[in-house]
Amino acid sequence: MITAEQQKEIQKKFKERMDQDQLLNCMRCGFCLPSCPTYIESGFKESHSPRGRIALMKAMVDGIIEPDEDVERTLNLCLGCRACESVCPSGVNYGHLLEEARDIIQQSKKKKQSLPVKVLRKAVFEELFLHQNRMRFLTGLIGFYQRSGLQKVAHATGALKLLPKNLASMEKVLPKIPTMKEMKHRPSHLMPKKDVKKRVAFFTGCLMDTMFMKTNDATMKLLKMAGCEIVIPQNQECCGALHGHGGEKEMAKDLAKRNIRAFEDLNVDYIITNAGGCGAYLIDYGNLLKDDPEWAERAAEFSSKVKDISAVLVELGFHKRKLSLPEQVVTYQDSCHLRNVMKTFSEPRLLLKSIENVEYREMKEADHCCGSAGIYNIVESEMSMQILDHKMENAKATHAETIVTANPGCLLQMKLGIERLGLSGKVRAVHIADLLLEAVEAEAEAAAVIK
């Protein structure tokens, strides 16, 4: 429920804070409609399209409508995939508008939130993602659950049936969690074997450095092979994307500042990420802090250095190196934020195509969101699963045995999709860094045999 009092406050804030130039910049041509997953999946509902959402935001600024539940619903149902931005000839920055709108609504509602919601939001946004040690602890608990035999018991007893269906499936597809000890001992500086071509800093990410630690290790190995000296600042924090997208912009700004501080005196060429979702937020720090005179310039400097692993690998000619894998069909699912915000989409494909024995098949609508979208698949599970099932039909049509992604959320979602299709064991989903490392190792093995 949004009370009348809250509505007034929200409306007032919309007037004060929304970027009116951006709202007017949308000329309602509708070119965004076919790119919007929620528009399509909702059966072509304008209210679930980018054009409709912008019109609703503008109507609130103009005082034509009040921010009722329907308005909040449509803003919540947006995946934030930003595919609309890539096709918008007017260059409307929809992502920024959405983030601002969600922040206004969230902050105005906060005072009257029910206790469970308050506790959950606080736990996720403040306790978990602001403290890497707690993230390690929680991930460690999952690891304990997996290793202790509890998981087996849970599977055998059918206890998981008590969970909502997709959460239960989610539990099955989680990767093998590293031990607490492994998660605590992370490198801080690595040198390549040969000449240093670039000095880079590695943004490890909170989930990536715990649940997906192996992928981070693979990323660093690849960077070293490509000739990168790697600095891994130990005082880095969560990128803040989850907070920004979830209507906690102030917390996101705070995290951004801490990260800028952690990375700014390292004298590096690039700041590397291997998670499209994080990377897109990092590359946006310049905008996030543009009105803060003390930080604006530093943020812009930070953002200018952010690069995805596949982009830096291509720049350093990694795709010209001999790579091979056992014969297989591979397809690639874009990470929306990597594609639509970081504009990195040809590089991962180039890398995959350069692997010997791999037949690369482009998936239909590979640039459409998979429905993962941060925590969207948990909070909007019905729409998310609808989008995912549609996605998996396209994936299946490629007959690929390996589905490659470039973001942890997408990776889990793809694994979930495989599980839902009943194709576990026949089809796998992997992060591009892991597959590339596999290709390097397979090639080295093959070379050793020949010798």
Binding site: L24, F31, D70, S90, G91
Partner: protein
């Protein structure tokens, strides 16, 4: 407000999930792509078949509830803006391709089919549907027919009107009419098909259409001619036509448009020249080669600084796609983009371009011009800010002068966007009093209660309406 009992009846017809009168649900259908116009409908209804359309129309006619049919809302004359409230009628369920007839070379569709989807479907069979409005990626065939949409290929292939063979529509009294047929020749009575095409939803509600297809041209070639002199560029257009060549596409883009499009599309468009012509010819290979060569010569003779032929089909397609984004790309330069489509006989194109530039200067406005130069259909696009009252007044005056000039040159106030609300105050300039009266008589005969898209085409006042509440 729709009365409770009527609402209940409508919900029974289409199912509650296809009836929306929530505030948010109505707001998102309160506009189309025309700037400055917004008005809330009372409800949004999505029928699933023609029988449901019939039932809805009967109820609305009885209770005098306006009906505004709407495709994808890409309309540029506020034709789908529900300025008198009532019901916005959506065709999202009626979006099937019913038949592709390869013997008669026709396609039969429901009105909600997306134009490009249909084009792709017929192209798979080696057939060609030439009308290609720039919004075809999202526009619906129903919308195209109601607006008689044009496009980039109008010069050689004509517009939507030239491809509509038969229509099925629901009249204001709820009865169904079928016009035309899969016929090349048909003179049985008045040509009601042509009457309904371009009627902007004011005479009947389309429920089905049969369209003419032609064989796919064997090849095509695309080129760009670059100019530092706008007049020379416009003169080239007239010279090409005068030399008895009809290219498939002959588009004009001036420098502000080029810069805006390139900023979006990044395909290497020249941004340092004053204007370009984008020319495409299709047909048998030897004809295409010969025409392209001859047109290149004409361009050079008319002081083109460079003539570039597209390197590959992909490059050619990129050029055409980029051109289609011109309007929206221009929109990124200023908050408000007001686009018109004054059209003149193609021989007068140079004069019109010069006049537009003069008028822009006179009123101190930033007007970019692009358009289908080959068929005389220009799109002077004014970049303004709706919050600047003084500027908006100057925009009004400038466009009034542009319309006047177009009519003076033997042209019209709108070539392909329609009259809607936006151009209604100027319609009499083009038609004269008698013309308006004839049209009103037709409207009154077919829709005596004025429930079908009321407030469109015929103006209540002669002044331009700026903001609807």
């Amino acid at each position: 407000m729709i009365q409770a009992d009527i609402k209940e009846k409508l919900q029974q017809i289409v199912g509650p999930e296809n009836y929306d009168d929530s505030k948010a649900g109505r707001l998102v259908y309160s506009y189309d792509a025309s700037p400055q116009f917004q008005s809330m409908p009372d409800a949004v209804v999505a029928p699933r078949n023609k029988e449901e359309v019939q039932k809805i129309v009967k109820i609305c006619n009885k209770h005098r509830i306006p009906i505004v049919p709407r495709g994808s809302g890409s309309n540029l004359c506020a034709g789908t803006c529900p300025i008198e409230g009532g019901i916005v009628l959506l065709f999202k369920h009626m979006n099937k391709i019913l038949e592709i007839d390869e013997e008669n070379l026709t396609v039969t569709v429901q009105p909600g089919v997306i134009t490009l989807d249909m084009i792709k479907a017929v192209e798979e069979k080696g057939l060609f549907y030439p009308p290609d409005p720039s919004s075809m990626k999202i526009s619906t065939i129903g919308g195209n027919i109601n607006e008689n949409s044009g496009g980039l290929r109008g010069l050689k292939y004509g517009v939507t009107r030239d491809y509509v063979l038969a229509l099925e529509a629901v009249l204001a009294n709820g009865e169904i009419i079928r016009t035309g047929g899969k016929l090349a020749k048909d003179v049985a009575g008045y040509d009601l098909t042509r009457l309904l095409v371009g009627s902007e939803g004011t005479l009947a509600i389309l429920t089905e259409a049969t369209l003419k297809l032609v064989p796919m041209p064997e090849t095509k070639k695309t080129m760009l001619a670059l100019y530092q002199d706008i007049e020379a560029c416009a003169q080239t257009v007239s010279n090409i036509i005068a030399s008895r060549i009809i290219p498939a596409t002959l588009e004009f883009l001036d420098q502000p448009t080029l810069q805006a499009v390139e900023a979006f599309a990044h395909i290497g468009l020249p941004t340092n020249v004053k204007a370009v012509l984008l020319i495409e010819q299709d047909g048998p290979e030897e004809v295409v080669e010969r025409d392209i060569e001859k047109m290149a010569e004409i361009c050079r003779a008319e002081k083109a600084v460079d003539v570039q032929v597209a390197k590959s089909p992909e490059h050619a397609e990129a050029l055409m796609t980029a051109r289609r984004t011109a309007l929206s790309a221009l929109a990124r330069l200023k908050p408000t983009t007001i686009l018109e489509d004054a059209t003149v006989p193609r021989s007068e194109i140079a004069k019109m371009v010069v006049a537009i530039n003069g008028i822009a200067e006179k009123y101190g406005l930033n007007i970019g011009t692009f358009g289908h130069a080959g068929d005389g259909n220009l799109h002077p696009t004014c970049l303004a800010d709706i919050r600047d009252k003084d500027e908006m007044e100057r925009v009004e005056k400038a466009f009034a002068e542009i319309f006047q000039k177009a009519i003076e040159l033997g042209g019209t106030i709108t070539g392909e966007h329609g009259v809607g609300v936006a151009k209604a105050p100027y319609l009499e300039w083009k038609l004269g009093h008698t013309g308006i009266e004839v049209m009103k008589a037709i409207k009154n005969a077919l829709d005596p209660n004025h429930i079908l898209n009321p407030g469109k085409v015929f103006a209540k006042e002669t002044n331009r309406v700026v903001m609807m509440k």
